[in-house]
């Protein structure tokens, strides 16, 4: 199993029946593959559909039905079309149960940076700032480190996405819960030791009393 699939499978376990969930472009979008179609979960794409379904069979694509990355999707029974004001009304208004987003950095206070690398790469925040500000639960799904550099750091050097403390960090090495008192390591990936996690983490980690191995969907 590659790192991305592992992360997606672990995040999928956070998703429960009846939830409204927004999945970011890229890695987070893989999570849907590991949530059973009959689980009663509604996926929102911020571009305007609640009840996002799988990619359609070839020849059955609709140019007016895509995910936030522009890829073709389907609509599940009971889906609803919404415009961008309603879409972000739901997000900002606290009606979204969970958002799963990629990250460039998360710091010891659980603050996310994911929209800009000054002078290098400026994709823009898109919906990320609203999502992190408004969703009931914010899950960051990302590789633990990038080119050997930790992405979990004492203080973000990149511009923040929000002051809000995210609820959960899921990486290819670990599951970490940011708390008022710092980052708590709750799970390690199969075959990964606490020392290996610590070696690739740029912020102090407290060990959870029930620290355990990651279970996957």
């Amino acid at each position: 199993m590659d790192a991305k699939e592992l992360i997606a499978r672990r995040v999928a376990r956070e998703i429960h029946p009846g939830m409204l969930v927004n999945l970011g472009i890229g890695l987070p979008s893989l999570v849907a593959n590991f949530v059973p179609a009959n689980a009663g979960v509604f996926f929102q794409a911020e571009n305007g559909v609640i009840g996002l379904g799988a990619r359609p069979p070839e020849g059955m694509e609709d140019p007016n039905l895509t995910d936030a990355g522009g890829g073709f999707v389907t609509a599940v029974p009971g889906a609803a079309s919404i415009d961008s004001a309603m879409s972000f009304g739901l997000i900002r208004g606290g009606h979204l149960d969970m958002t799963v987003l990629g990250g460039l950095q998360v710091d010891a206070r659980g603050r996310l940076a994911n929209w800009k690398v000054p002078g290098k790469m400026v994709p823009g925040m898109g919906g990320a700032m609203d999502l992190v500000t408004g969703a009931k639960s914010v899950v960051v799904a990302m590789q633990h480190s990038a080119r050997g550099e930790p992405k979990i750091v004492a203080e973000c050097s990149l511009p923040l996405t929000s002051l809000r403390r995210v609820n959960l960090i899921v990486t290819d090495l670990a599951v970490i819960i940011p708390t008022e008192d710092g980052l708590v390591l709750t799970e390690t990936a199969p075959g990964i030791s606490v020392d290996e996690v610590r070696a690739q983490t740029g912020a102090p980690l407290t060990l959870a009393p029930d620290l355990r191995e990651m279970e996957l969907a």
């Binding site: 522009g70 961008s84 972000f88 900002r92 990320a128 923040l160």
Partner: protein, 217 residues
Amino acid sequence: MKRAIKPEAAAALIPDGSVLLIGGFMGVGSPHRLIDALVARGARGMTVVANDTAMPGHGIGKLVTAGVITRLVTSHIGLNPETQAKMIAGEIDVELVPQGSLVERIRAGGVGLGGILTPTGLGTEVEDDKPVIEVDGKRFLLEKPIKGDFALIAAHQADYVGNLAYSLTAHNFNPIMALAGATVIAEPDAIEPVGVIPPDAVKTPGVLVDHLIERAR
């Protein structure tokens, strides 16, 4: 009643240097033939307000490539490296706005509100020098309304009154932008006789629409 006009005729109505609100999300729900006509007429110096710039060769990306845009107010340019390159080279002045704030600022402009009070962006670079207003002990950014000289939007169905209905994820910014353009030009997939679109299906009342683009032949 509005007689439908050709995309070239519509493009000729739009002077260089205008502020254009352009609908679409990664090219889905953008007025593609109107965009082509703007490129064909060699439009210059436009300020474009749009969720994103799609990708090179597609939707608003064509306006980027053709050098139509000098200023851009948008939430995400991550999938159009050309926009990023022109921004870094100083050819396009880019203002990045969180997606939810962007659509809500346009709505405020369209419905006569003085701005929006949003938690999104607080404590980030988006806050910049903007006023922070406290309401009942909570802090909010005051973000100003946005209006356009023109709103260039796409719709699924129109009638000759100008009523518009939209399809699935092609709603996005279109119904909101229809409120905020001094002149509104709509490019529908189909134009129906008056009385055929049920009143409950109309999402943009015809009174907001100034010109319809005729159907593709």
